[in-house]
């Protein structure tokens, strides 16, 4: 995957993974809504420093919009069915938003080769990082396959609507799973051939053309986000 050179600071992938880790802890143990607001804003500021201005702006506006709708739905539509549905549906996304934005930033601003180099430095075994890299690489292809499969199904008069599934369950299932899994099996052969011809089986340690270093900026970011964890528990105890 080729990413355009961004004008911001190039942070080490390990730093970004650390931010994702903190985000997961925040979602699991967040003491208060205000704390979560601060955290999401902090991640957006970090994204801006990474040079992902658009990502930062879109993330922040999406979060603000989400909060606005939630606030409106809780205070003005409280008793109505629409209000409950809105709050319930969006509440789930609100809950996992900090993680989503941190993970999204990491994936969109890191090359796969960079991530692999970081995995090697972190001493993650090949049995884990090779499937993980393939997984990240293959996600967009599944989405694409899904689109093609749906249009192919349409050609045969099948859709994914409940009515169609009830009418022709066997045909729907076959037309969905068979191509999806056939193309997965074929892609597995092709990708592994590509990986082997690029020397993935070489016994020598993996090298990477991108220079990976924990720089002062990385240390600073890790300290700041690291502090978010004790802050979370203090916030919970003193109930700000």
């Amino acid at each position: 995957m080729n990413l355009p050179q961004s004008p911001g600071v190039r942070f080490d992938p390990r730093t970004k993974l650390f931010v994702v880790l903190v985000a997961a802890l925040v979602v699991a143990f967040s003491p208060a809504k205000n704390y979560q607001y601060c955290f999401v804003i902090a991640v957006c500021i970090f994204a801006a420093f990474c040079g992902r201005w658009r990502f930062s702006a879109i993330g922040l506006s999406a979060y603000a919009l989400l909060q606005a709708i939630l606030w409106y739905a809780t205070h003005w539509l409280a008793a109505s069915t629409l209000g409950t549905m809105l709050v319930a549906g969006l509440g789930f996304f609100n809950m996992i938003f900090p993680c989503g934005i941190a993970a999204g930033l990491t994936i969109s601003s890191t090359r796969v080769s960079e991530l692999l180099a970081a995995a090697v430095r972190l001493r993650i075994p090949g049995r884990v990082y090779i499937p993980l890299a393939v997984l990240c690489r293959y996600f967009p292809s599944v989405k694409e396959d899904w689109r093609f499969i749906r249009s192919a199904m349409k050609l045969r008069g099948l859709t994914l609507s409940p009515a169609s599934i009830v009418r022709q369950p066997a045909a729907t299932i076959e037309c969905l799973y068979v191509p999806l899994m056939m193309s997965a099996a074929k892609a597995a052969d092709e990708l592994s051939a590509a990986a082997i011809s690029r020397g993935i089986e070489s016994p020598r340690p993996r090298t990477c053309i991108i220079d990976l270093h924990i720089r002062p900026a990385d240390v600073l970011v890790m300290i700041l986000f690291g502090l978010a964890v004790p802050a979370m528990f203090l916030w919970g105890v003193f109930g700000l």
């Binding site: 994702v20 985000a23 997961a24 699991a28 143990f29 967040s30 003491p31 809504k33 979560q36 939630l70 409280a78 209000g83 409950t84 709050v87 319930a88 549906g89 509440g91 789930f92 996304f93 609100n94 809950m95 996992i96 938003f97 900090p98 993680c99 993970a103 075994p125 090949g126 049995r127 884990v128 090779i130 499937p131 993980l132 890299a133 393939v134 997984l135 690489r137 293959y138 996600f139 292809s141 599944v142 299932i173 076959e174 799973y177 068979v178 999806l180 899994m181 056939m182 997965a184 099996a185 597995a188 052969d189 990708l191 592994s192 990986a195 993935i200 089986e201 070489s202 016994p203 919970g236």
Partner: protein, 206 residues
């Protein structure tokens, strides 16, 4: 290049690069199908309880084809580990993520008992592997007050929690577990049919 110790670093457990790539790709497909099954239910406080059933119903054929393609110890463990990591990175409940890692190992041992060739044991392994999403609801039913407090602090609205508690009486937990097992069994049987009818004929199983 010395041809002797090539790929030593991953061959220790008998998994080749090809196996690892296959695991990665099938994990991607598994996760996408899992999300399709889950996203219909998870954001809704009344339907959220049936999320494990929806997921269990869809993923069986993928699980069975992965085991058929890589009939060794390892794939199921790595599948569980990767899904656990991914769910962790997207902020899902920790109980579900840990359960994926633990039950992945259990499922691997169950399927391994039949050398990964016994379709019955493989389906049993899938049933075990379909259970982790129930994990987060186990925590809910253990202590609803603690659960409500923790997820409300996490930014979930009061009304979501109220609706969830109102639509989740205690007898629901065994129903969810039983439902998940039945759905996984059906999905496994469907996978068996697909394997026999399509994939073995096409020669894409190992």
């Amino acid at each position: 290049m010395s041809g002797v110790n090539t790929s030593d670093f991953i061959k220790k457990k008998g998994l080749t690069v090809r196996d690892l790539v296959t695991i990665g790709i099938f994990t991607a497909v598994y996760v996408v199908v899992f999300l399709v099954g889950g996203m219909v239910f998870a954001p809704n406080p009344v339907l959220t309880f049936y999320m494990p059933i929806g997921c269990a119903l869809l993923c069986g054929p993928i699980f069975l084809l992965l085991v058929a393609k890589v009939p060794k110890h390892g794939p199921i463990i790595i599948l569980g580990l990767l899904i656990g990591l991914l769910m962790f990175a997207t902020g899902m409940h920790w109980m579900m993520n840990t359960a994926y890692i633990v039950l992945g190992i259990v499922a691997d041992l169950v399927a391994g008992a039949g050398n990964f060739k016994s379709i019955k044991l493989n389906i049993l392994a899938y049933i075990i592997f379909a259970l982790p999403p129930v994990g987060s609801y186990v925590m809910f039913f253990l202590d609803k007050a603690v659960w409500a407090k923790s997820i409300m602090a996490g930014g979930t609205e009061q009304s979501y929690v109220d609706t969830m508690i109102a639509s989740g009486p205690n007898w629901l937990l065994p129903v969810i577990i039983a439902g998940t097992i039945v759905a996984a069994l059906l999905s496994g049987l469907l996978g068996r049919v697909l394997l026999k009818k399509q994939f073995e004929k096409a020669g894409i199983t190992a």
